[in-house]
């Protein structure tokens, strides 16, 4: 410790030690990169490369990566909410069942209620938004009910949501007595991806560029803010490096989505319908980023904003670290808890929309076991079950890891029982490695 109050020499002891740090450690310190996040991304890349080798080059193709992104979307959306739930030392075992129930409600709304009973007819342009809003309201109400019982009546979240797991699965069956509802509204279906449910090449580049500009603006803004109060700044080379890396990753992802071309069958159909002209083998139309992936990314951005930039987010983390202290600080902790479960319910509804749209149907078993994937995604993504720690970005990567494992094993032709065994083992190892990492940090 030094007595100096000059910003550049903060953390006297650490600065003294810095001279002995290795190049890697210096690099990480300068860029302020989260080593845990780096480790997770490394693990993800390792999984991808191994699957690519074992599946004979089938994994790292634009087609598979694009599918992976679409398949991850629904669980990723719910995982962002699960982070807040787990951070506050709660758990939500009911998300899969809520997804099933809300999906059923949305399906019945758009396939039966609106067109038949309310006279909207089929493929009315308003149908999709009404169905989605109905779903979100129902999801919020269910989440609010859970949250109320947990926060105000004091029943542990584990029990309330275990009850919810059974109740909402049963309720989903009840809506149609177990009958599958199909097909979905054509606009609604865009939320599920597919060639039509993707935004195409040009729009994808535009989105990619907007993200890059936003990234650079954020780096500049944070630098300006820190300058204003004369806080220590990152070296310029580190800022440039981070900005370049971020833009490179974003544009790389867009490129991959754009070189996954429409399957020839669809091109043939479009030519027949007179929508396209030319020779079917010479037409290459890239999918671009899928709409469900865009939805998931938007959800992640909004949730990250909530978690890190708002009072609500601050209270969530404080509550997770020390509930009593948060209460004594004058924060209405019950209401915060209830809000978290309302958000979780809304996210389940969004995930339900993605999943029903993708399947083009609502089935009684939809979302079964999704609660486990969602919890696993959050935990692999660094959310601590002891509370107080977790990031939205981590949960998104966690969801990608879980989905990569599953898709990869399907590509390799592994049997379902074996898949389950592998996923279970990976989950335990991941959490063990995390606890080793955390211990090493202190």
């Amino acid at each position: 410790m030094t007595d100096s109050t000059e910003p550049q020499t903060t953390q006297g002891t650490d600065t003294a030690r810095a001279s002995e740090l290795s190049v890697v450690a210096k690099f990480i310190r300068a860029t302020e990169l989260d080593t845990r996040m780096l480790g997770m991304i490394g693990a993800l890349l390792l999984i991808w490369i191994l699957f690519d080798i074992f599946s004979g080059g089938l994994f790292l193709t634009p087609r598979n990566l694009w599918n992976l992104s679409v398949q991850t979307a629904s669980v990723a959306v719910m995982a962002t909410g699960m982070v807040l739930v787990i951070v506050t030392r709660n758990i939500d075992l009911s998300v899969g069942s809520i997804l099933g129930f809300v999906g059923m409600i949305m399906a019945v709304t758009q396939a039966e209620l609106l067109p038949v009973y309310l006279g909207f007819g089929f493929d009315n342009p308003l149908t999709w938004i009404i169905a989605l809003l109905v779903g979100i309201v129902v999801g919020a109400a269910i989440g609010g009910l859970h949250g109320y019982i947990i926060a105000y009546l004091g029943v542990p979240a584990f029990i309330v949501t275990l009850g919810g797991l059974l109740v909402w699965r049963g309720a989903a069956w009840w809506v149609t007595s177990g009958r599958t509802v199909a097909p979905m509204d054509s606009t609604f279906r865009l939320m599920g991806g597919g060639p039509a449910g993707s935004i195409g090449e040009i729009a994808s580049w535009i989105v990619g560029l907007i993200v890059c500009v936003a990234l650079v603006a954020m780096i500049f803004n944070s630098r300006r803010q820190r300058k204003r109060f004369q806080f220590p700044l990152r070296p310029v080379w580190a800022e440039v490096f981070l900005g370049t890396l971020g833009c490179f990753l974003v544009l790389g992802a867009v490129l991959i989505a754009n070189i996954y071309y429409w399957p020839i069958g669809i091109i043939r159909k479009q030519i027949k319908a007179g929508l396209l002209e030319g020779v079917e083998t010479e037409i290459f139309i890239g999918h671009g980023v899928a709409i469900p992936v865009l939805i998931a990314i938007c959800v992640a951005i909004v949730m990250t904003f909530l978690a890190t930039r708002t009072r609500f987010g601050r209270y969530v983390f404080a509550l997770g670290g020390n509930p009593e202290a948060t209460d004594l600080a004058g924060i209405n902790t019950r209401w915060v808890t209830m809000k978290i479960f309302i958000i979780m319910g809304v996210l389940c509804a969004i995930a339900a929309a993605i999943s029903t749209a993708r399947l083009n149907a609502a089935t009684n078993a939809q979302g079964t076991l999704d609660e486990l994937l969602t919890i696993a995604a959050a935990v692999i993504g660094g959310t601590s079950l002891a509370g107080g720690v977790g990031t939205i970005a981590g949960a998104m990567i966690g969801a990608l890891v879980m989905q990569s494992l599953q898709s990869g094993m399907v590509l390799m032709g592994l049997d379902t029982p074996l898949q389950n065994i592998v996923v279970g083992i990976v989950l335990v190892i991941a959490v063990w490695l995390d606890s080793v990492y955390r211990r090493a940090q202190h």
Partner: protein
């Protein structure tokens, strides 16, 4: 019973009682506090000091009794209510949110916001550096969660939080228990300064010498009851020790309901 009878008391706690499953932690305890006055609460371990002030700070709901603030009846059902009356508390357990940093703790529940309604972390950190600089100039670890701080540093954070928002009534439950001599001296200075600004302070401490240096009056508790009250000028240290240990009220003190019948 008080130093300046001219003004009305800032706080008047009357016959407060609370019990936890049959244990009478606080029984019919009455204490008052005037602006610019330091009242020390003394007593053996488990006497009920922390419990009494936690009723005032809204952490516990009392079973009986009344609290007046500025002469009118106050409703304090939770910590938010208490803060509304300008009551700030440094808890014995510090009550810090361990996993967020110093600035986040200082402003917990009263965050500074940007014009867009988002957290203004930079401004909060700047203010945190300023306040902590006054209390503990050596302190530099602003980026770390407070669980990574030493006991004394954590205590400094808890003190800084209590004085940050213009408290009118300050409750300090063993505020210097973990502090080094230099930092303790700083807190003593701080108490005198706040006192001169007209803030009323309840000070809980086991250090009798400190109490005689800082407090205008003492109130001694034993087994949940008040043994007696005294101006620090009217009694000596041994007499106060007698009150704490034996519950014996000396001639210079006013006996309370817990005084040893003689």
């Amino acid at each position: 019973m008080n130093t300046n009878t001219a003004t009305q008391p800032l706080v008047d706690m009357r016959e407060l009682s609370i019990s936890f499953g049959g244990i009478h932690a606080v029984e019919q305890a009455s204490v008052d506090l005037f602006p610019g006055e330091v009242v020390a609460l003394l007593g053996h371990n488990g006497a009920g000091k922390s419990t009494l002030i936690k009723i005032l700070s809204g952490a516990y709901q009392r079973d009986g009794g009344e609290i007046d603030i500025d002469g009118s009846l106050a409703t304090i059902d939770n910590p938010r209510d208490a803060k509304g009356y300008g009551i700030e508390t440094i808890y014995q357990t510090l009550a810090l949110a361990d996993n967020v940093d110093t600035a986040a703790n200082l402003f917990l529940g009263r965050e500074l916001l940007t014009p867009w309604g988002t957290l203004d972390d930079v401004a909060m950190e700047a203010k945190a550096r300023e306040v902590m600089g006054r209390l503990n100039p050596r302190f530099q670890r602003f980026k770390e969660p407070v669980k990574a701080l030493s006991g004394g540093q954590r205590q400094s954070v808890a003190i800084a939080r209590a004085i940050l928002f213009n408290a009118r009534i300050l409750i300090m439950d063993e505020p210097t228990a973990a502090l080094g001599p230099e930092e303790t001296a700083q807190v003593s200075e701080l108490i005198l300064q706040l006192k001169s600004e007209g803030i009323g302070i309840f000070l809980i401490s086991h250090d009798i010498a400190d109490v005689f240096d800082l407090a205008d009056r003492v109130a001694v508790m034993k087994n949940g009851q008040v043994v007696g009250y005294a101006k620090t000028g009217d009694v000596d240290k041994d007499e106060v020790l007698g009150m704490i240990i034996l519950g014996k009220c000396p001639p210079g003190a006013t006996p309370g309901p817990g005084a040893l019948a003689s």
